[in-house]
Amino acid sequence: MDDVTLAVESGEVLGFLGPNGAGKTTTIRMLAGMIAPTKGYAIVAGHRTDRDIEQLHEVVGMLTQTPGLYDRLSARRNLEYFASFYPSIEPQSQVAKYLKIMGLWERRDSKVGTLSKGMKQRLALARALVHEPKVLFLDEPTAGLDPEAAGEVRRLIRTLREEGRTIFLSTHNLSEAEVVCSRIAVIHTRLLALDTPEQLRRRFFRRQIIVQLEALDAQVMEIVKRLPFVQDVREEGSQLILELTDSERNRPELVKAIVEAGGRVIGVSEKQYPLEDVYLKLIREEGQNES
């Protein structure tokens, strides 16, 4: 990683996006105090990553890429083992709490080797949370899970977000990042972009308004083209795709003009560019810069 500088607010969910080898896991490991950077440091929950390692490990939780659980121990024993390393908690009550939250209470005495992949991942998430960390690092939490199990893990992450936890989420899944994260950092050995999904879209794509009509005729098209605030317009079937000077303020005037020209408006919406388009644009630009 090279020259990564970012600030994350308490209670924020920051997504790390990037291709394989981009440094997502490395960044998370550096922030969690598991590996040291060659230069620089971060302050996580008030602790410096280059010198306060022990204190740092007490306030961060880490979900590693592989669950890394002991197959021959029960779910409860696995959690109790990891919980016992934290001085500030009472392991048994915390373990019971998180087994219940993760929906594993009924399987608490089952050997981990007998649990499904999704259950193991939920148990690993419980392990990362059992000491009530201030900051949570999740390294590809849904990788390798079936859609149902992945959905369950995402639901749990959203719950954690609602609870106000600060979360760093490394993922390849763009829709997951969009649903879960308040801001997204696109990295490729350096920080390429950092913003909310909405702002990232606006940065790379102009806002476009879609007007869905019952039928599109030439008269409506002509009127719309002549409107002073319409910067660009094109038709797609019975839809008009427009770029306006001010897409919020100009919208009522636009609809009024279309209706007066005899058009029957079914709906008005904003064109949503998938985050994937933003991501691919950034990565391609980076590739071109490198070459």
């Binding site: 490990h57 007490e58 880490m62 592989t66 890394g68 024993r77 990891f82 016992s84 934290y86």
Partner: protein
């Protein structure tokens, strides 16, 4: 806090150890193999070679040193002198038990966790390297020590059953107790510490096993040195030896902590 963490590591390791049939079988079997072999050799030597073995220069030298250490042996017939000489080696022979168990158990301890990914999760907790290594070493050394002591008891029972009970007074001396309760724990901890250290550095259990072989050779040398009469290990000499190995335990732990590369474990083992 360290005590709580080490206790937790011990309990976890023991649960894993005794739910693994191979390890449990090994811990049970090795002592019986060692005790059985030792007694068989002594029985064969006494039955087929008898007192004539004592005429060799090597045994003569050893016997002279034994008589100096335990004068009552001089009053025994030649074949019983030989038995006392051979039975007296048994406390060193028992040292092989913890080292053999360490080769199989300790060498897997870290490698296994690297492969399963649990070590990465563990390294994200506040557990200190020395707590982890000491916990793992003690988790193997304590059961190994218990079975060694049990084996010593079994040995004395078998010796009595073979009709040599009247000789135990010459064998179970202060040196015997010092070896069992000071030297054996020190050797057990050293063996497991070396095994865990090897395991933390190695890519697989097989290469880790080579590090524990380092301790087996000196144990065999102890037996060789005493039985050939080069040195007779008196209680004070055993005490010094136990202290030296105890210091080696401490140095090995410190070295193991220094050699334990958290970063390379996290980065290389995925």
């Amino acid at each position: 806090m360290s005590r709580r963490r080490i206790r937790s590591i011990l309990l976890k390791e023991w649960t894993l150890l005794f739910t693994d049939l191979n390890s449990a079988f090994l811990i049970t079997l090795v002592p019986f193999l060692i005790v059985g072999q030792g007694i068989l050799y002594i029985w064969l030597a006494a039955k087929f070679a008898g007192g004539s073995m004592l005429t060799t220069q090597v045994f003569q030298t050893a016997l002279q040193k034994l008589v100096v250490a335990i004068p009552g042996v001089a009053q025994l017939p030649a074949n019983e002198q030989l038995l006392v000489l051979l039975l007296s080696q048994f406390n060193f022979f028992l040292l092989l038990i913890p080292t053999m168990i360490a080769i199989s158990v300790a060498t897997f301890s870290i490698v296994e966790e690297k492969l399963s990914g649990s070590l990465e999760a563990l390294l994200a907790t506040p557990v200190k390297t020395w707590e982890l290594l000491l916990g793992k070493a003690l988790a193997g050394a304590i059961p190994a020590l218990v079975v060694t002591w049990l084996s010593a008891g079994v040995f004395l029972v078998v010796v009595s059953e073979l009709g040599w009970g009247h000789l135990t007074g010459f064998v179970v001396t202060a040196g015997w107790f010092l070896t069992l309760f000071l030297l054996t724990p020190a050797v057990a901890v050293l063996s497991f510490m070396l095994g865990v250290t090897g395991s933390s550095r190695a890519k697989d259990a097989r290469s880790a096993q080579n590090t524990v072989l380092v301790i087996i050779l000196p144990v065999l040398a102890l037996i060789g040195i005493q039985i050939t009469g080069i040195i007779w290990f008196t209680p004070s000499l055993i005490l010094v030896l136990a202290l030296v190995i105890g210091i080696a335990d401490f140095i090995t732990l410190r070295t193991a902590v220094r050699l334990f590369r958290r970063e390379s474990i996290v980065v290389q083992w995925r």
